[in-house]
């Protein structure tokens, strides 16, 4: 098999893998150390301190930005999951399968275009940008990832289960509620976590559509980076990584748990 032949090759290969892992982790380790360092200069270690974290948690500005990010992420996740699931359920018939093409333009347009489009729309309609435009944009991003995921899960489903339910006298809504939605649950959870992280991840929508009053976390880091670069930002970054990791772990476990539950039901 590939690369199994000689030890030298295998050694080089393993080394390469290790280097990539190192490459991925080096910056995170850097800011991790930086955030506990009492010296403001990144390269010299003075002593261990938690002051930066203290400063971070006491700063009202950061708290507000985090709260904004969270509110926007939760509401846009909820919206994109509801809209996406409804869309997939509504277009399950074959004659509607072409409708997915409506969402294809997003694949070829960078987020910056979506952000500019929404900003122009709000300007044109004379609505001040704010939470509404931010949630609109994040939902649009979430939808594009949620719909293909749910669609592929929908196509893998056993069609006979649905037919059986309809045959046994359940109407369409009851079938959806009792058969389809439970079967789609793992995919919905995955899509929700994806939409949530995409929303937290986003920079462009926040940059263009936030208006003057609202600041999200990524905007906060971006605007403070050049002017006010202290280890507080590192501490904030570590907190962001830790919380996204926790959220994703919960999602991973939840998906695993629900899939296990489903397979237990079937057998």
């Amino acid at each position: 098999m590939l690369l199994h032949r000689s030890y030298l090759k295998q050694f080089a290969y393993t080394l390469f893998i290790c280097l990539v892992y190192l490459f991925m982790f080096l910056p995170m380790m850097g800011i991790f150390v930086h955030s506990f360092n009492s010296s403001c200069v990144a390269s010299s270690w003075e002593s261990f301190t938690l002051d930066w974290y203290k400063e971070l948690f006491c700063s009202p500005e950061v708290g507000r930005a985090a709260w904004n990010s969270l509110v926007i992420a939760i509401s846009s996740t909820a919206l994109s999951i509801i809209l996406g699931t409804a869309f997939v359920l509504g277009t399950s018939e074959k004659k509607y399968s072409k409708l997915d093409m409506l969402f294809y333009p997003n694949i070829f347009t960078p987020d910056i275009v979506l952000a500019v489009a929404i900003m122009s729309l709000f300007k044109f309609l004379n609505i001040p940008c704010g939470f509404v435009s931010l949630i609109a944009g994040h939902t649009a991003i979430g939808l594009v990832f949620a719909i293909p995921l749910l669609r592929s899960r929908m196509e893998e489903l056993d069609k006979y289960l649905i037919e059986a339910s309809l045959d046994l006298g359940a109407d369409r809504w009851y079938t959806t509620k009792k058969v389809l939605l439970p079967l789609l649950k793992p995919a919905i959870i995955t899509a929700a976590f994806m939409a949530f992280t995409l929303s937290l991840d986003d920079f462009f929508i926040s940059f263009f559509c936030a208006g003057n009053e609202i600041e999200t976390l990524s905007m906060y880091i971006f605007s403070h980076l050049r002017t006010n670069n202290t280890p507080v930002l590192s501490a904030l970054s570590i907190c962001v990584v830790a919380s996204s990791f926790t959220i994703l772990m919960i999602g991973y476990v939840a998906t695993k748990y629900t899939t296990m539950e489903k397979s237990n039901d079937l057998y």
Binding site: F23, P27, E93, A117, F204
Partner: protein
């Protein structure tokens, strides 16, 4: 209840229309408006059809801007492919247990948001950062080196941010390849490279294309990473959009710039497909199976 009575008949309207309306209202309508607006020019009498905005884009400055955006995007994508294939292959085929753990550990940094990741590099590479200290200690440079604000650093930052988006689809498509195919290929005397180019690459094509889309598109429109690591010295498509829309407020010009950018991006992706096929043809030619090879490989295996 009215809804319940009509739900069955108007199934599609109830369920599918909200998402369609959302997409139409927030993306398709503004994009169409951009397209129309880019062909209009404001004069004293009103709006007239003109190509003025596109003529302005023929300015060498804009051509250079879009060209360098394409360059950054293409380089990032190629580097991501080169780095992601061995990693995805390693996790998919060579690791027996704990595949998920290895993958999660690898993707862990990427769950931070992109600004955070770029910021982390910024901390490491800044003037008094650890990396320049290490370089100085190794005696490569005498004074602390200037590591930020150059092209290789920007590309490295982009590769760092977008590598997971290449690894994940590649890994998923590699995972669906049956291991027996690789064993069969090796049994029939194919060399490693032949197996790679003739079995692995074609079968992981979908993952590769998804990865290219996920990397090339956002890398083309990248703004924040380039601003932070490039120190604002590099004018790219993304920063030009920001300038035209936010600073100058010239929406018609910005619309034309957007349309041209998307067109450039689509041609970039199309050229990626052409490059893919060209590379496969060349690789198949270089690593073609020679008539004598099968016997020699078998005897080699026998000796080993």
């Amino acid at each position: 209840m009215w809804i319940k009575k009509n739900l069955e008949r108007e199934w599609f309207t109830f369920f599918a229309t909200p998402a369609i309306l959302w997409q139409t209202f927030f993306l398709l309508v503004p994009l169409t408006a951009f397209f129309i607006l880019s062909f209009l020019e404001k004069t004293s009498t009103g709006w007239i059809l003109s190509l003025k905005h596109y003529e302005l884009l023929l300015n060498p400055m804009y051509i250079k801007v879009i060209g360098s955006s394409l360059f950054f995007s293409l380089t990032t994508t190629c580097l991501c492919i080169v780095l992601a294939y061995p990693i995805a292959y390693f996790i998919a085929f060579m690791v027996k247990k704990a595949k998920n753990i290895l993958l999660i550990v690898l993707l862990l940094p990427s769950w931070a948001n992109i600004i955070t990741q770029v910021y982390a590099w910024f901390v490491l590479l800044q003037k008094n950062g650890s990396v320049s200290k290490v370089i100085a200690a190794l005696g490569i440079t005498s004074t602390p080196a200037h590591l930020l604000n150059n092209k290789p650093v920007i590309i490295m930052g982009l590769v760092y941010c977008y590598l997971p988006f290449m690894i994940l689809p590649l890994y998923l498509s590699l995972l669906s390849i049956k291991k027996t195919l690789l064993e069969a290929s090796a049994d029939l005397g194919a060399t490693d490279m032949q197996t790679f180019w003739r079995i692995i690459v074609p079968l992981s094509r979908n993952g590769l294309f998804n990865g290219i889309l996920l990397v090339a598109v956002p890398a083309f429109g990248e703004y924040a990473a380039i601003e932070i690591l490039g120190g604002g010295n590099y004018a790219l498509w993304g920063s030009n959009i920001v300038d035209t829309f936010l600073v100058a407020g010239n929406y018609a010009q910005g619309a034309a710039l957007t349309i041209v950018g998307i067109a450039a991006l689509i041609s970039l992706i199309a050229s990626c497909l052409i490059i893919y096929h060209a590379i496969r043809v060349i690789a198949a030619f270089i690593h073609q199976i020679k008539p004598s090879q099968r016997i020699t490989t078998e005897s080699e295996e026998g000796r080993l």
